[in-house]
Symmetry: C2
Subunit: 107 residues, 2 copies
DNA sequence: TGCAAATATGTGTGACTACGCATATACTAA
DNA sequence: TTAGTATATGCGTAGTCACACATATTTGCA
């Protein structure tokens, strides 16, 4: 039962990873970037439907990854902690460098 | 279309995150740790069924996260790149520290 | 007021996924 | 060769998920 990464909170970690594993959600996060962005801008930027963007925003909001605040008629969404972008970039970097094997090919 | 993390390979990244978002798979990765481990040891360590472990190992193998090599009657599985554990621990650390909001509660 | 814009939500559905069961394959030993 | 152990694979299934459609809610403005 004791192993090299037993300090990992598997449940919490897997839930966060699941939320982040949806390509449209990643695109939405990228669209927001470091600044707070109104939903209509995200819709335009990603090309997704309004319903779909709203759905994904809710998932990420309930996961605590993003927050939305109303400013007049608009709601501005932004990352709860922008460190997330750095983590994603780090993971992306890792996939690009020390990760030569393409999916689907194994020994 | 141009945003702050446009260098991200969304497709590749989301695929890897999806594979990692399964709690049993994370447990299996933890069970392997830095060393190559035979499947039966993973089964015993995680308490999962043989079929299930084999299933998850295949998913991770085809994703290029782990590799398996036969040694006699046994097949030893290990991380393709152990940096993955560091990345997971980093993400875990981030969730523990700068991440006070519990899932399910939002404004 | 009432209308229009911005965003969220309920419902249904097709696709995917994790899992168990049964079985097949690969290897070792007698 | 036969039996037994280790691991993989085909198949069926229940549960989950992303999405569209329709509709509701909130806000600003005439």
């Amino acid at each position: 039962m004791m192993n090299s990464c037993s300090q990992l909170n598997i449940d919490k970690l897997s839930k966060a990873l699941k939320v982040l594993s949806e390509p449209n959600r990643l695109n939405i996060l990228c669209s927001m970037g470091l600044e707070c962005t109104q939903v209509s801008a995200i819709i335009e930027d990603t090309g997704l439907s309004q319903t779909n963007v709203s759905f994904h925003l809710r998932v990420m909001r309930e996961a605590g990854l993003v927050k939305g605040e109303r400013r007049g008629a608009f709601i501005y969404y932004c990352l709860y902690d922008t460190t997330l972008l750095a983590l994603l970039e780090e993971m992306n970097q890792w996939l690009d460098t020390s990760f030569q094997k393409a999916a689907g090919s194994e020994s």
